[in-house]
């Protein structure tokens, strides 16, 4: 028995890596409720096909460029939301925190006021503001135990008040600083775009094969090598396709800088969440905070850091939104920013119950929200339709999450 066991395990491991076995395992996982990003991808394709049938502009290069710029703010804010949802909390202040960051960045570049700083310094100050707000909110939640819903609701009101207070008399601050305006509006040259695509693909291949060979060395199941190559080729191909399309855009060809920024932040956030001890502890706190505490994880510290990430991402998103409008007014941070950002994370497959989801969900969800807004504007439907559609898709996403959660729990017993 014991002498036969290693050979059996070896055979099982090899068997496990064949394409058929992987597809079968994937199908079993889907049936037991672990659908991954499947619904999101289906959603993206369906929405794209719908709008394409309504207007020919939707699939044009210039609109693709536009879409990247439109979705950037919400996508970046949603990255922070993913972290907050992963620990099973909620942050309602992100909308107006993004507004505060927009006001800060505008305030700190204002000419002739005595507090005019270079654009990047103003950006750093705005993000620091977000970090501090996150630190305060996170500390109240972690140390005193006030529910995050209430703390961040208070944060929402206070932030809105601060925006009105600062902007009160003038009501608007224009942004003249070139560095800040470039964040959302600069377009990379064609060749820079290609270089970026090459770097992304090489980095992707490096990560995939690095993990493949480290597992091979350790004698662990490696997954199918062909599937790994296909995956790298697919995502690399997406990067090249995106650059190609943007380079075809008519008046100003090239990839918008802001697209590069949010892809970078999504990759960075995904890396932190899935490859570092901190990320592992974030998932643990969201899955079972008591288990995490007993395992020696500093649950309070994790909560505080997560709210700081949320604040910083909201701030970065706010700066992007302000940069896009070349200024800030009394509506900063208002409107649908809060709900769009939370919806983006949830539509991207991040569970509201904590512990499940990926940072890349922010990108997928941001893309869906962005496509709906963009497409509805193009087709000429009213804002009412836009709100109703977004609301229904959000409801569908949360319903799906709840059903899948129940299904997974049932599959366990």
């Amino acid at each position: 028995m014991s002498s036969a066991a290693p050979a059996e395990i070896q055979a099982a491991a090899e068997d496990q890596d064949s394409i058929v076995a992987i597809l079968r395992a994937r199908w079993v996982a889907i049936r037991s409720g672990d659908v991954g990003s499947l619904p999101v991808i289906i959603g993206i394709i369906a929405i794209a096909l719908y709008f394409n049938s309504k207007t020919s502009i939707f699939f044009s290069a210039v609109n693709f460029q536009n879409l990247i710029q439109q979705m950037a703010g919400v996508t970046v804010i949603a990255i922070g939301v993913v972290f907050v949802l992963l620990i099973g909390e909620i942050d309602l202040s992100i909308g107006y925190v993004s507004g505060i960051a927009g006001v800060s960045v505008a305030y700190f570049q204002q000419a002739g006021t005595g507090h005019q700083y270079p654009g990047l310094v103003a950006l750093a100050l705005a993000i620091a503001t977000g970090l501090v707000i996150g630190l305060i909110q996170g500390s109240v939640i972690a140390f005193i135990g006030v529910p995050s819903f209430v703390v961040t609701l208070a944060g929402l009101l206070v932030s809105q008040g601060l925006i009105l207070q600062v902007l009160g008399t003038q009501g608007v601050i224009g942004i003249q600083d070139k560095q800040i305006n470039d964040i959302a509006n600069y377009v990379l040259t064609k060749n820079t775009g290609w270089i970026v695509a090459i770097i992304l693909t090489v980095a992707l291949a490096g990560a995939a094969f690095g993990s493949y060979f480290s597992r091979l060395r350790a004698g662990l199941p490696t997954g199918n090598v062909i599937l790994t190559i296909v995956r790298v080729a697919f995502f690399g191909g997406l990067a090249f396709a995106a650059v190609y399309i943007c380079n075809q855009a008519k008046p100003r060809p090239g990839v918008p800088l802001v697209g590069l920024i949010f892809v970078f932040l999504v990759v960075l956030g995904g890396y932190v969440a899935s490859r570092t001890t901190f990320g592992r502890h974030v998932y643990a706190v969201g899955g079972n905070a008591e288990a995490a505490r007993r395992a020696g994880i500093n649950v309070k510290l994790i909560r505080i850091i997560v709210f700081m990430i949320s604040g910083a991402m909201a701030a970065m998103g706010g700066v992007i939104l302000a940069s896009r409008l070349n200024g800030i007014d009394l509506t900063a941070g208002g409107g649908t920013i809060l709900l769009d950002s939370i919806s983006a994370a949830v539509i991207g497959g991040v569970s509201l119950f904590g512990g499940r989801g990926r940072v890349s969900g922010a990108l997928f969800g941001g893309l869906i929200i962005g496509m709906i807004a963009n497409g509805i504007d193009l087709v000429g439907y009213s804002d009412a339709i836009k709100l109703i559609t977004t609301g229904l898709i959000l409801l569908a996403a949360v319903t799906l999450d709840t059903v899948l959660r129940r299904r997974q729990a049932a599959a366990g017993r």
Binding site: A5, L220, T276, T277, A284, G287, R294, G412
Partner: protein, 275 residues
């Protein structure tokens, strides 16, 4: 009949005095007391467990089993008495002290994260990482697989499976294996079979035996005397925060233990009269 009964009791009582001639107990509690306000949960309890044995800890509700576990785990600090670890007096002021001594408690609610996989749970809070805090998955996965294999836990198909997808017995196995992975010397199992079906109970009881075979000191807290008699070498009975006695499994029976649990040991004079 009367004689038989008293003999049982006397033998049980004698056994608590004459300890088996093995080396010093791995963990020994002497005259340990714990009060919650005016409630005396433990009133001078003695307890010991040795390497390679399964010591069952039984008693009715309110006997002080949970309090005793929590004192050893560092969740409560003791009010009186002494704790010896491998013959040396020690103080346990927090869970970290207990962990440092190599005492692991597997609680009834398991303390696993459902959303994480087996490897991630085994290494929870003690992940292997490089200086930049990047996780080193390969060695973690290797050692998890080795540990499960050494305990003959073969029902878990993949160590990369989320714990949510495991059965109750498999989850219990993961929680126990975590104690082994970290080279603990003493493992406390709090009602490990309480919520399990027949086959899964068997799985866990086999695992308990294997832990002792690997040289660990195992303390099994259970209400189920069938389970206790199946795996335990010795049985400590508590009643209302006091010792009733320590019984050797081979020289006692379920009836005697049930009597000890419900009525406690007879008063000394009573025993003498009957003897």
């Amino acid at each position: 009949m009367e004689v038989l009964r008293s003999e049982h009791l006397r033998r049980g009582k004698n056994r608590s005095v004459n300890a088996t001639p093995t080396p010093t107990p791995t963990l020994e509690l002497r005259e340990v007391a714990k009060n919650f306000g005016s409630v005396e949960a433990l009133k001078g309890v003695d307890f010991e467990v040795r390497d390679g044995e399964v010591m069952a800890l039984v008693g009715d509700n309110g006997a002080g089993k949970s309090t005793l576990i929590k004192c050893v785990a560092g969740i409560y600090s003791i009010d009186d008495g002494q704790i010896f670890f491998e013959g040396e007096p020690v103080t346990i002021h927090g869970p970290k002290d207990a962990a440092r001594l190599g005492i692991e408690v597997v609680y009834q609610d398991l303390a696993l994260c459902d959303n994480l996989d087996v490897v991630q749970n085994m290494y929870l809070g003690r992940e292997t990482h490089d200086p930049l805090f990047r996780l080193r998955e390969a060695p973690m996965e290797q050692r998890t697989a080795e540990t499960l294999k050494s305990l003959s836990v073969t029902t878990i198909r993949s160590v990369r499976q989320a714990v949510a997808t495991l059965s109750g017995g498999q989850r219990q196995s993961v929680a126990v294996a975590r104690a082994v992975l970290w080279n603990n010397k003493i493992v406390f199992l709090d009602e490990p079979t309480a919520a399990l079906g027949v086959a899964q109970t068997r799985q866990v009881l086999d695992l308990v035996k294997r832990l002792a075979e690997q040289g660990l000191a195992v303390v099994l807290v259970s209400h189920n005397l069938v389970d206790v008699f199946e795996v335990a070498d010795r049985i400590t009975v508590l009643r209302l925060g006091r010792n009733v006695g320590v019984y050797e499994k081979d020289k006692t029976n379920e009836r005697e233990i049930v009597e000890a649990i419900t009525f406690g040991a007879p008063a000394p004079e009573e025993t003498e009269v009957k003897a």
